[in-house]
Symmetry: C2
Subunit: 182 residues, 2 copies
DNA sequence: GTCTATAATTTGATAGAC
DNA sequence: GTCTATCAAATTATAGAC
């Protein structure tokens, strides 16, 4: 049941944001009462933090090993694919929408948010550094922001192809920047 | 007073999102009661739509004329500067945060949101087409998404330099793509 | 673990006096 | 235009029975 709540909460939070749904909505989704949701997650912040922990593990697992022998473009492609799967399910990145709202969120949520983006950044730094790219730290953040922007705009415009165009462009730029005049 | 409410509402909505503040918060900001806010804006959707209309005009004015004789990089730089000013005031783009939440927002807000992004896209298409770039439609959307992502990540990580890095990279990519081996 | 019941607060919004 | 007063509904969260 805890997993069912987390699943419903991810869908709700990715669609409507932290303040856009209630424990009663969630309870109705999984067929119990809101008091029972509070049994599993005392506060909404607890729910969000638990959700983000799960989400981080799921995404990093989908990215694969940043240090393996795949080509850089394949690694970045795996990251894009993981987010595209999320986009196709409706809603953007869980941490993307929470990032947009983060100034008005409980403090533990903000901390978990930074944890997520730092984990992603570190994965990307590893991937860039492994391919001999210069300034891997900078590239990692630029790539992340391009990705989050592609999710946001593709979602807002209701145009899934926008995500492919934007991420395709970004990967191509990274690849040529990393291995110039190949 | 209507302008004061709009100003306070922009700050609140850019910080906390559509559901993250109340008419009472707003009333306190400008020193009146919430009933008086409802006199100026009957519903919260009315407020958001009015806000977005103002915001759109303000931003397009800051971009300047898309058809003038500035270099493409200068035009794109003006767009980035306009958003950077917003970022420095705290909070991301008004339409960026509303885009993230848009699935759970009143319908008129979603319509105004699309209007904003279409206006921006058209401005950018004009700028790209004027410099002889190929696929100006595609470039416009890719540029917009890079920009929104840069705002989001810079905000979430609390790192203003991230915005400069990401947008600088994007402008450089557009420029070299438009005028190859210059 | 889930329920009923409810507390305590907040919310968007309205009515009507001034 | 702003106020007081208020409504009806929703919200997060808790207490205690089963």
């Amino acid at each position: 049941m805890k997993d069912a709540i987390l699943k419903a909460a991810e869908a709700r939070m990715r669609r409507d944001g932290f303040h856009g749904f209630s424990f009663r909505d969630l309870a109705a989704d999984v067929g119990i009462k809101s008091a029972s949701v509070h049994y599993h997650f005392p506060t909404k912040a607890d729910l969000a933090v638990g959700l983000m922990r799960n989400y981080r593990e799921e995404m990093l697992a989908a990215f694969g090993d940043a240090g393996d022998d795949r080509a850089l473009a394949d690694k970045l492609g795996a990251v894009c694919d993981a987010y595209k799967t999320k986009l196709s399910q409706a809603g953007i990145c869980l941490c993307g929408i929470l990032a947009a709202e983060h100034a008005g969120l409980p403090e533990p949520v903000g901390a978990a948010l930074k944890d997520y983006f730092i984990a992603c950044r570190d994965w990307l730094i590893s991937a860039f550094a492994g391919s001999g790219a210069d300034e891997p730290e900078k590239r990692a953040l630029v790539f992340s922001s391009a990705l989050q922007g592609a999710l946001l705009m593709s979602h807002a415009m209701g145009d899934p192809t926008l995500f492919d165009h934007a991420t395709g462009e970004t990967i191509r730029a990274c690849d040529s920047g990393t291995r110039p005049r190949q």
